[in-house]
């Protein structure tokens, strides 16, 4: 008994010693710059070839790099070289892209390399990464990027089908469209022109990966990322936290010296031309529930946070600025436009709605977009008139004048009368399908049904879970539905393809919209490189769609982010993920926050 008691005491002493060490490790040097951040979802894996979720992308983007990246400060979004030495050189026919790669970039040190020393990056690492995604045995989520795009890559995929196991795949199997004339040149040959390829070269799954690492770690590669980026993975305590440390061998990259207007006043250029990364360590805590995340932010334990819907009122005042309480805490607000558009879609093949433009316009007039935004988004949105979000280069504010419909109940009633003449009698009960059965979606439904009723239209709301909803939309059996789209790349083509007649359901054109004039423009622009003419055509295509009214375009999202005073160089970004390298922490200010909190109390 006594022995057991003694061992228990000993165990307790050991435990306290261990936790003490751990805390010490967490705190480290007082002047060390540490970025504390929270992850709202679990990190699934850190193998760039198989990443499909945002949270994993955020972590992996600090470790891996792509050929190109978005300029951190410039708006509209602009691509700049990252691993590439310059922007790609496209052939005249738009089918061949030649990309020069920077020399002297090395993978971070890892036991998978000879002597544990990271070797130099070569063009072959990019070819290997892409072939790996094409390998059917690897079952990557990201094959859609290359599907029917690159000469010979689809044939490579066919070849991998004949291999029994993933290990049997021979990566030296030639792919005509991916050539490396020397170690620092990559030549890509496309099947047909694809100007958007440059944006995908900045998309994490296309990042190079070392074959040595994949061979060494095999399936465990998702836990052992070996990249060229500014940070290295130090600890990954699953479900708890991830610790990243500065990569000592990171190549020369400097904080940008050019910025968008207004950035200088915000102090975003005070670190211009400094060597990146600025922060020594990053601690990413996994906190899935929003209340604890919020409280940790208020206590200064994490540096930045989104605003939970329930705390919005106490954070943002009537005029859209921070409340006094937040200002006392020296908290700053970052607002940025999402590349998103949300709408009420019409099934253009529906016998009632399809051939009846006045009816569709009546519904557009009946929906009070401003009220919707006020009620359901805490005013965190902008009214939409077309589908191209204001954050896109091709957005034109003239769309407001083109759009033939404004919220006007009387006009809606007139249009309903007109629609009834076309229909030849009273418009039958319309069915509105909404994705989701929870209370917020029901509130949307109640709001919409009141709008419809005010215009004199009979409406039935239908609430269903996401898979059933998708099925209904894809089989063209939904009459009116609520949906949206968030762009993956800053190119409006991403939105335009939603209205192309060859993409009708089960494709992405859920409206089943078809207009030969639009199709002609779309086919023309889908192979055009970026130019003022293309932008003009984008706008013309949008105008055609807006006039045909296959949807009520509701709003474009606006996101709010809060950050503490000690976090510098924070600028929200719609597409980039690996942005921690630009941040700087004022360690003294953070330390003083405790006293500030005491004073507030």
């Amino acid at each position: 008994m006594e022995k057991a008691f003694k061992s228990l005491i000993l165990l307790l002493i050991c435990l306290s010693f261990i936790t003490g060490c751990k805390n010490a490790a967490k705190q480290g040097d007082a002047n060390e710059m540490v970025l504390y951040s929270a992850l709202a979802a679990k990190v699934r894996g850190l193998d760039p070839g198989d990443i499909g979720d945002t949270t994993s992308s955020v972590v992996a983007s600090q470790i891996f790099e792509c050929l190109y990246q978005y300029h951190y400060l410039k708006r509209p979004y602009e691509l700049i070289p990252q691993l590439a030495a310059q922007m790609p050189i496209a052939s005249e026919d738009g089918l061949t892209y030649t990309i020069k790669i920077k020399k002297g970039i090395c993978f971070s040190d890892d036991p998978c390399f000879k002597d544990g020393k990271g070797r130099q990056l070569v063009a072959g690492d990019i070819v290997y990464a892409w072939k790996r995604i094409a390998n059917i045995k690897y079952l990557s989520k990201n094959w859609w990027i290359f599907d029917s795009r690159i000469v010979g890559l689809d044939e490579f995929r066919e070849y991998t089908k004949t291999c029994k196991k993933a290990i049997d795949v021979d990566y030296s199997y030639p792919v005509g469209g991916l050539q490396t004339p020397d170690d620092f040149t990559l030549v890509i040959k496309l099947k047909k022109p694809w100007p958007q390829i440059v944006y995908l070269l900045a998309h994490l799954p296309t990042a190079p990966i070392a074959k040595e690492a994949v061979d060494y770690y095999s399936k465990d590669i998702i836990n052992h990322p070996v990249g060229t980026g500014p940070y290295k993975l130090k600890i990954w305590n699953r479900g708890s936290y991830i610790e990243l440390v500065k990569n000592p061998d990171f190549h020369d990259e400097f904080y940008p010296s050019q910025a968008a207007s207004g950035d200088v006043q915000l102090g975003l250029l005070s670190d211009a031309e400094k060597k990146l990364p600025l922060v020594d360590r990053i601690l990413l805590m996994n906190i899935q529930e929003s209340p604890p995340r919020w409280f940790l932010f208020l206590q200064g334990k994490i540096d930045l946070s989104a605003i939970p819907k329930d705390n919005f009122e106490s954070t943002i005042d009537q005029r859209g600025g921070l409340t006094e309480d937040m200002k006392k805490r020296d908290i700053h607000l970052g607002i940025f436009r999402d590349p998103s558009t949300y709408w009420i879609g019409f099934n253009m093949e529906d016998p009632v709605l399809g051939g009846n433009k006045p009816l569709r316009m009546a519904i557009s007039c009946a929906v009070d977009k401003a009220k919707f935004i006020e009620l359901f988004t805490n005013n965190r949105a902008e009214i939409a008139y077309g589908f191209i979000p204001p954050v896109m280069k091709s957005y034109s504010s003239a769309v407001k004048d083109i759009s033939p419909v404004r919220y006007d109940v009387n006009r809606a009633r007139e249009l309903v009368e007109e629609a009834e003449k076309i229909y030849g009698g009273k418009i039958p009960k319309l069915v509105f399908t909404l994705p989701g059965t929870d209370v917020v979606v029901r509130q949307y439904g109640e709001f919409y049904s009141r709008c419809f009723k005010e215009a004199g239209l009979d409406i039935e709301m239908e609430y269903m879970d996401w898979p059933t909803f998708q099925d209904k939309v894809k089989t063209k059996s939904a009459q009116i539905f609520s949906l949206g789209w968030i762009a993956d790349i800053p190119d409006s083509e991403n939105f335009l393809q939603l209205f192309y007649s060859k993409n009708v359901s089960p494709g992405t054109n859920n409206f089943n919209y078809s207009n030969p004039e639009f199709d002609k423009i779309y086919e023309q622009i889908s192979v055009m490189p970026d130019s003022p003419e293309r932008t003009k055509l984008y706008r013309k295509a949008e105008q055609i769609v807006v006039e045909d009214c296959p949807a009520v375009f509701l709003y474009h999202g606006v996101a709010y982010v809060l950050y503490h005073d000690w976090l510098h160089n924070y600028k929200p970004h719609g597409f980039g993920y690996g942005l921690s390298k630009y941040r700087r922490i004022d360690v003294k200010k953070r330390a003083a926050y405790k006293d500030l909190l005491k004073n507030i109390k």
């Binding site: 009620l375 059965t437 929870d438 509130q443 109640e446 709001f447 039935e460 709301m461």
Partner: protein, 317 residues
């Protein structure tokens, strides 16, 4: 000579029947009577809404969907319970919610009694393998957690239809609240079944049953004409106490997103108000809770009083 003894009516002590006696005892309890009045009031509101809808009366108090003021207005003289996120009167929504809640609770109680009582009576009367089968059925059913069972039933029944064409009655669409009360009725008959079974086992050895049998009565007649009327007070008590739990179950189901779709019910109101509460809009939650509180309290007190008055073992003066 007329030797017949003359018995005048006055000499006969007036007998008081079981039911009359019970209700007389009940009437003496003032609290129970108040509760009965509240219950009647709730039923009357529900019935009134049904009538108003059937005859298309344009009454403002039933018109819950129209806007009466600004959004999220706190309680005032014009709007006793304030307004909701679309500027609709919370009072009208609460009143309309009575219809849904009372309908669901009423039909769920009826369905559960219609299943539980005959099954319990048959099991208790026949015993043997019939009893074993029924006991097996209800023990299996009661071993599944109640809310999960209701949820499973409600999900299975959702958006299905039952055809009554063989009765020339058309089809019954199981949408919204129909599936809710069917699910509740089909899953909650175990308690009453067990109770009736026990009572029948006790009663079936009594003299009056023996007498009925000696007259050559058939089993069905003995069960339904002799045994059940003697345990009927238990059914009534059970009905009133069960009613409360059904109202609460409807609230929980609506809260879980399985209730009435396009009409307000107390559960749906609480579900909505849950999101408004952190913002300080307390009135919708309060209105629905108050409505549930009064009917629950009234039914509980009345149910207890009913048991005290009708159950011979508990009769108190």
């Amino acid at each position: 000579m007329n030797n017949k003894p003359t018995i005048t009516k006055k000499q006969l002590p007036k007998g008081v029947g079981f039911w009359k006696d019970g209700f007389r005892r009940l009437a003496r309890r003032r609290m129970a009577m108040v509760c009965l009045f509240i219950i009647f009031a709730y039923f009357a509101i529900a019935a009134f809404i049904y009538l108003a809808e059937a005859f298309n009366w344009q009454l403002s108090i039933v018109d819950w969907s129209s806007q009466v003021g600004e959004e999220y207005q706190p309680p005032s003289k014009e709007n006793i319970f304030g307004t909701d996120f679309l500027g609709r009167s919370v009072l009208r929504k609460t009143i309309y919610g009575t219809k849904i809640s009372m309908t669901v609770a009423f039909w769920a109680s009826i369905i559960s009694l219609l299943i539980g009582v005959p099954l319990g009576a048959i099991a208790g009367y026949f015993r043997g393998w019939v009893d074993e089968l029924i006991v097996w059925l209800y023990t299996t059913l009661s071993s599944i957690p109640y809310i999960l069972l209701i949820l499973a039933f409600a999900l299975v029944l959702k958006d299905k239809s039952i055809s009554f064409s063989w009765l020339h009655l058309g089809t019954l669409q199981l949408s919204g609240i129909t599936s809710v009360y069917l699910a509740m009725g089909l899953t909650s008959w175990v308690g009453i079944c067990r109770l009736i079974r026990g009572e029948i086992i006790k009663h079936k050895e009594r003299e009056y049953v023996l007498a009925a049998r000696s007259y050559g009565c058939k089993n069905a007649r003995i069960i339904f004409r002799h045994l059940l009327p003697n345990v009927f007070h238990l059914i009534i008590i059970n009905f009133s106490l069960r009613f409360v739990s059904f109202i609460q179950a409807e609230v929980i189901l609506s809260f879980l997103g399985l209730g009435a779709k396009n009409q307000p019910s107390w559960g749906a109101m609480i579900d909505t108000a849950r999101l408004d509460l952190p913002k300080g809009y307390w009135w919708e939650m309060t209105a629905a809770t108050v409505a549930i509180f009064f009917i629950s309290l009234a039914l509980n007190i009345f149910g207890d009083a009913l048991r005290d008055s009708l159950d011979p073992k508990l009769r108190v003066q």
